[in-house]
């Protein structure tokens, strides 16, 4: 059955060479997009072009190649700025990924603003990357980590969140979209409420940017992080957005080249934003590849992406709900991209192996969100996660694969 939306998925799939292959003699059905997304040809070609034509270090050479690579690198920063609707390009810091972005904030903003007895608020659905950096900071400073509980659907309990805020709260860090559950959090309201206490908010957008338009100024968040590889760009590159004044007030993180204005053995002065946070030669090719991915998404339109995936998610939810013995984990009213489930009598890893042999690539495990698994009383789930190049036929293949799992295990 064709999708109800206007996206020309047949044409789009031709842009992703990796999708046209067989695994174990079956057509590849790639439903592990929350782990990493596939790359369109234009991203792969941008990487190749950079290394074949423009490769040089940035911000220092006087020669032609260095000028070209610097220009491409900074042009990509401008693309990210527009992609997030940041107020200016100085607010876009390139990092290795969402994880590094969160660690950067924890070790600069956190170390200078969090003291003994202070509190940091996260939610019960966070990825380990938005838990552990804050635990490390709390440990170092004698601060306290507070956790917003979630309900049985996998939604934050907003009234509990309001109660957690107090004069000792120094930061709220929550995901925009949960990687394990697919829940879309009410981040605009969370920011608004936290700001009522003058508390800054960091949003982990790793699972949001591939699925929906994000407007940092409208969200009014203080920090927003995401990973390039989850949004059809290369691995090893990511973005920290920070409001200019916040970033200005923070000490630098790593020291090295590019982040300084002048160095003597007596005194070093630091560079302006965003270079203050970009010590050493960055992943230049990765940044340029990310820029190409954003150009590609601009052409398709995030509205069309969101509409198509919404249709797929509804179609998939209905299909999985009809399978006896299957329980969806994460049934928030606002969801994006994720179908996480358990099957009675079958461990998720066994389901993952059998699905793989049917050509269906999914993730099985705790999804780096063990507290979420504990909350739902499971040790792991099988997770199918969507991208705009997926189709209803992919969902049908998933359902057929699940029937095969049930057949093998006789459940």
């Amino acid at each position: 059955m064709p999708s109800a939306t206007s996206l020309d998925v047949t044409a789009i799939r031709k842009d992703f060479p990796i999708l046209a292959q067989q695994v174990h003699g079956k057509p590849l059905i790639y439903l592990d997009n929350a782990a990493t997304s596939q790359k369109p040809k234009c991203v792969i070609e941008a990487l190749t072009r950079f290394y074949q034509k423009d490769n040089a270090n940035i911000h220092r050479g006087v020669h032609q190649l260095s000028e070209r690579s610097t220009e491409s690198y900074e042009a990509a920063r401008g693309k990210v700025q527009r992609f997030l609707n940041a107020a200016n390009a100085r607010e876009i810091v390139f990092v290795r990924g969402a994880t590094e972005g969160i660690n950067l904030v924890a070790q600069t903003y956190g170390r200078t603003h969090v003291g003994a007895g202070d509190e940091i608020v996260i939610s019960a659905m966070e990825h380990h990357s938005n838990i552990v950096p804050w635990q490390m900071l709390c440990e170092e400073k004698g601060a306290v980590l507070r956790v917003i509980p979630i309900n049985d659907r996998g939604e934050v309990e907003f009234d509990q969140f309001e109660k957690l805020l107090n004069r000792r709260t120094r930061l709220v860090a929550v995901s925009h979209v949960s990687n394990a559950l697919g829940t879309i959090n009410p981040v605009r309201e969370i920011v608004n409420t936290a700001h009522g206490w003058n508390v800054p908010v960091l949003i982990d957008g790793a699972q949001a940017v591939p699925h929906m338009e994000v407007d940092a100024q409208n969200l009014d968040c203080d920090f927003y992080v995401f990973s390039g590889h989850k949004v059809f760009g290369p691995t090893g590159i990511g973005v920290l957005y920070g409001k200019e004044q916040r970033l200005e007030d923070m000490p630098p993180w790593q020291g090295g080249g590019d982040m300084i204005r002048s160095v003597t053995f007596e005194k070093t002065t630091y560079n302006d934003l965003p270079y203050k946070f970009e010590a050493g030669t960055p992943d230049i090719a990765g940044v340029i590849g990310l820029g190409a991915a954003i150009d590609y998404l601009d052409q398709i339109g995030m509205d069309a992406v969101a509409a198509h995936e919404h249709d797929l998610l509804e179609y998939g939810t209905r299909a999985l709900e009809n399978i006896s013995g299957l329980r969806l984990i994460g049934t928030a009213r606002e969801k994006a991209g994720v179908l996480s489930f358990v099957i009675d009598g079958v461990h998720p890893h066994d389901a993952g192996t059998i699905l793989d042999r049917e050509g269906v690539a999914v993730r099985a495990g705790h999804h780096c969100a063990q507290p979420v698994m504990d909350r739902f009383g499971v040790s792991a789930t099988t997770r199918a996660s969507l991208a705009f190049y997926n189709t209803r036929e992919d969902i049908d293949a998933l359902v057929a694969g699940i029937q095969k799992v049930k057949e093998v295990f006789a459940v």
Partner: protein
């Protein structure tokens, strides 16, 4: 073929694990954990004069890891510690090499299908690594690396 991996014996031991309990009079025990997938396994042994009198396990995990632990408890009963170590080495070869199947593995040959699924070798070896830790007296949690 998927049915080579999930042979009937494995599915049966997954559904009804044998010797699935703790052992009050155990004189050796160890705990295994695979941090990648969260599988857990506790092995309890009663060993007397170098002979394994009783062996039981408790744990949570996939069908391969549960069935492997369950079958292990069956084959080890009455074996000497030395025989258990030899069996462990042979079992490991069964899973990780493409040599012809060892002859004297008995029921454990049902795991020969795991060879074709390298990502699942750790599932099958967790209980055995935990056993080795128990035999060698390492009281700490082990992982099947």
């Amino acid at each position: 073929m998927i049915n080579d991996l999930y042979q009937e014996t494995i599915l049966d031991h997954n559904r009804r694990p044998r010797n699935f309990q703790s052992l009050e009079d155990a004189n050796r025990k160890a705990e295994g954990y695979n941090p990648l997938c969260g599988d857990q396994c506790k092995v309890f042994l009663k060993e007397h004069d170098g002979v394994i009198d009783k062996v039981t396990f408790q744990g949570a995990g996939c069908a391969i890891s549960i069935a492997s632990a369950s079958l292990m408890t069956e084959v080890l009963k009455g074996k000497t510690v030395g025989e258990a170590e030899t069996l462990l080495a042979k079992f490991h070869d069964l899973l990780t090499t493409d040599q012809p199947l060892p002859k004297d593995l008995g029921k454990l040959v049902v795991f020969s299908g795991v060879r074709e699924f390298p990502a699942r070798v750790k599932c099958a070896t967790l209980a055995w690594h935990t056993l080795r830790a128990a035999l060698r007296g390492a009281g700490e949690a082990v992982s099947p690396e």
